[in-house]
């Protein structure tokens, strides 16, 4: 798993690639925790290079979503495909996470 964070005015973009699972999700946590600590309200997750996700990886993203919503922000996702898309559909999370703004 690799990830990058970039802030563009109001928006925070986090791109995650490779495998987000029980082994690698802890590496992502500090970045997600910082986003919450800073109270970023407009978070976009670019998952177009995410190849594989498991329930631990999903858990980390859902936890981010809940915390950001708690202070009135929103977490959007884009680029979901293949196995991660199948997992999001199965857990009915593709309805919970909104897509691109305006999409």
């Amino acid at each position: 798993m690799g990830h990058t964070r970039s802030d563009n005015g109001e928006e925070t973009l986090v791109s995650i690639d490779g495998t987000l699972d029980a082994l690698t999700a802890p590496e992502l946590r500090p970045t997600l925790d910082a986003i919450v600590a800073e109270g970023r309200k407009n978070v976009m997750l670019d998952l177009s290079s995410l190849r594989l996700i498991d329930s631990s990886g999903v858990g980390a993203l859902v936890s981010l979503l809940k915390r950001v919503r708690a202070y009135g922000g929103e977490v959007r996702i884009s680029g979901l495909r293949d196995q991660p898309l199948a997992i999001f559909k199965l857990l009915q999370l593709n309805r919970v996470f909104p897509g691109q703004p305006g999409a």
Binding site: A22, L52, G59, K66, D82, A86, I87, L90
Partner: protein, 173 residues
């Protein structure tokens, strides 16, 4: 049959997932129909595409389910084991269960010597926005059969069936 044995720790998940993924390619729905190798490419193409999708979806489902089972063993089954040299192992058997030329099943048996559990207890998602407790739901959703035999050693058996009938039906004009 392919057998793999690794220590019951998350670091070994990647090795195990690779083996299961490769085993699905060997034992799951075939991508190519060798009997039609002599036919013109155009006639074979739509069916090959449907087969490719069937095979990819099969691997995706089995790998997703197996990964959750492996996580559970490393995180719950061997929970509390601090002495690495005393860590139990995870033994994995993967084999094909042929049905006929057009269908079959892949069976994965995962054996451990850690804590036992009762999979019948975890039938539903705990929450609308779950952060945990999704593993067994994923396993159940993606596999056709799941059996648990309490030991020790405990064996979790996962079965996924495939049939070319569904893919060829979809590909027929």
């Amino acid at each position: 049959m392919i057998t793999l044995s690794v220590p019951g720790s998350l670091e070994y998940r990647d090795v195990a997932v690779r083996v299961v993924g490769a085993a699905c390619k060997l034992f799951g729905p075939p991508k190519r129909d060798d009997r039609r190798a002599s036919e013109p490419v155009a006639a074979v193409a739509p069916e090959e595409k449907a087969r490719g999708e069937l095979a990819d979806a099969f691997v995706m489902a089995v790998v997703s389910a197996f990964s959750e089972a492996f996580n559970n063993l490393a995180l719950h089954g061997y929970r509390g084991v601090t002495d690495k040299s005393a860590l139990g192992r995870i033994d994995i058997k993967v084999y094909a269960q042929p049905i006929d030329d057009e269908s079959g099943a892949v069976v994965i048996e995962v054996t451990d010597t850690g804590h036992a559990f009762d999979p019948a207890q975890y039938l539903e998602l705990p929450d609308e926005l779950p952060e945990r407790g999704m593993g067994l739901f994923i396993i159940r959703s993606f596999m056709d059969e799941i059996r648990y035999e309490k030991g020790p050693p405990h064996t979790l058996t996962l079965v996924k069936r495939w049939s070319l009938a569904s893919s060829t039906a979809a590909a027929s004009p």
